[in-house]
Symmetry: C2
Amino acid sequence: MSRTYTDELRRHVGERVELSGWLHQQRQHSRISFVILRDRGGLAQIVVEEPAVVRTVAPLLPETVLAVEGVVADAPQAPGGVELHDPAITVIAEPREHPPIELRRPQLKEQLPTILDNAPVALRHPRQRAIFEVSAAALAGYRTTLDRLGFTEIQTPKIVGGATESGANVFELDYFGRRAFLAQSPQLYKQMLVGVFERVYETGPVFRAEPHDTPRHLAEYVSLDAEIGFIEDHRTVMGFCREAVVGMLEGVAGRAGTALAQLGIHLPMVPDEIPVLHFADALALIEEGTGEAVTGELDLAPSHERWLGEWALRTYGSEFVFVEGYPMDKRPFYTHPEEGRPEFSASFDLLFRGLELVTGGQRLHRYEDYLRALAERGMSAAPLEGYLQAFRYGMPPHGGFAIGLERFVSRLTGAQNIREATLFPRDLKRLSP
Amino acid sequence: MSRTYTDELRRHVGERVELSGWLHQQRQHSRISFVILRDRGGLAQIVVEEPAVVRTVAPLLPETVLAVEGVVADAPQAPGGVELHDPAITVIAEPREHPPIELRRPQLKEQLPTILDNAPVALRHPRQRAIFEVSAAALAGYRTTLDRLGFTEIQTPKIVGGATESGANVFELDYFGRRAFLAQSPQLYKQMLVGVFERVYETGPVFRAEPHDTPRHLAEYVSLDAEIGFIEDHRTVMGFCREAVVGMLEGVAGRAGTALAQLGIHLPMVPDEIPVLHFADALALIEEGTGEAVTGELDLAPSHERWLGEWALRTYGSEFVFVEGYPMDKRPFYTHPEEGRPEFSASFDLLFRGLELVTGGQRLHRYEDYLRALAERGMSAAPLEGYLQAFRYGMPPHGGFAIGLERFVSRLTGAQNIREATLFPRDLKRLSP
């Protein structure tokens, strides 16, 4: 008999079917047992009345892997409105002992460190699993959108000869006896490939040897990168960035409806025109609104991002706000200055619910501008020879952005800590499981 | 005026359009110049007759970035059957000098090391670019197929506390003062996540400190991994593997038609039933067919894989052949033995045109079996604690496979060296660009 999933049972009322999955929970009464089976479709209730079967299931531990044949019956009070009657139960695999996480509760009661230490079991909880179904759906939506817009997906090396962003926060590697590094981003490669494909994206891991233990940083995360040639300025990039975020939300709505419902998530609306604030104006607003003296600051503090998030919601009803024109001093060497105000950059951040979700901007595209920018920062051009070759032989105005997948999912699901949206997080302390 | 791409010109005959792109080539006659412009759509010919414009374009170097306004005219002899007349040409960015690679030829004449050293320029050649359009299309086809089959996409850590496959060929890393490694595969994580999602896939980089300089090995490559729970045996996995390969070929056919034509690629047919040979029978066939004494071998040599590829083509008309039942001695600790013949494994390789493309198989799923397998190999269970937790708390029979993306594209495009199908290859000697 071919397998049926728990979320298909409704279509089989009156039929005999075979389910497989994990023993999620059981409640025993004197002569009857209710077994909840979990599979990738969800949960199903099995009613056990036959004394021999009641005796078989009674000693089974949670997480026992089972195959269950039975007849589907309407049962308005059961999960999904159906249950399985008259079951024949086969044990496929037995756990060694009671699991260290109580999966039967509607929400896990354990603290985050315990959940992360026991990830292989904790992730089996329907709510935990749902978070990563949202993540997969968002990723699929990102790719679908950029594919539609004529982007080419690329795969660039994670082992590199030099730091991509700056010398700080970089993991060092023994590469056949030579020094190498883990790529902090695909920045240099995606720019080079604008010269080949014009529009490129990559979805893959990036590595930051982040020495601080914060709820919003990871040593390894998934970066959704894009880069676009023949742009007008950074505003063109912001337009593509908006499309990508809309696509991710559409992906989630279209592919992860059950997970959304399970998590009680409210999907944000992306306005046709996301409000845009210049960095200088943002500082003025913050100073006026909070009374804090922020003039001359070079970046936004997390509290200021939160304040701007609230401001945008209050003023425009938008959960998203772009801040453009961050001071050049805090931006990497490839950043293009703002037209006419070279102390500011043609770059932007997109804040989502008061947290930086995306960083992007226009890049330099002339070889001479790179030599000058590197010289001004006291950086050597030699380790960047391959990268600079792209600009040496003709590159159009271009720019791009990077979206942190775990940050997006954290914000969407209301997670307090980015680790909640990461299957197996890596940080200062955590290298396993 | 909004931009038009070269592959859209046919729809605009008689209209004035704006193209942008790179100066691919120019041929000058006394009073007329033919400029070939390259963009992400392809090539277009621009006919320059106005003396002032002829003088403007004459000194331009190849790879100059241009915007060209002109009128589209039928021209059966030109590429794409159209050309641009009466052009106004604007220089967007100038290269510093003649590029080190001659992009105007139908095929690059340079040797592979020169091409790789100058990848940022060499990849701009339409044929080079086409290879990676095939690659992106194959990847998209893989994901589409597994999405349809109910798989969940996962993202697992590339920085790990212990070797995943074996202690050999692993890159070591300084992780905040601790020893860590780059994941040789997502093997352990994809298995753990079968306990969560039942069917998972990942497309991402894997790392092998491959000490040999061969045309088929890389230090970093893209692995298309899948893992499936509730299988019957490794034959179930082979069925999914076939679906994945069919999906990749459909992706290429559907999304990379122009690239295929450019490369002159013949897409293979995947038979409904890919021929399957047991390892023991394969050895017997090879011995009979070649006269070589191979009895007692534990693996297939590259020459034997080639021989089997030819045999399958000759005998079944198939460019694909499965070899199953490789000896347990050469397979990793998590391998499930063959039912009734425990010296052989319930694993398989898929050969494509005489080269191993996929490795897969059924895995152990009982906690006790893992403890025994590790003890027999003299391996310690302690570094695998997190992994073993999945089996400690109930895991169904499962198995999976991994497809090397660069190998697939190499075979498909007839590349002699896997580096030809890798944007920026990493090997014993190569760490840049």
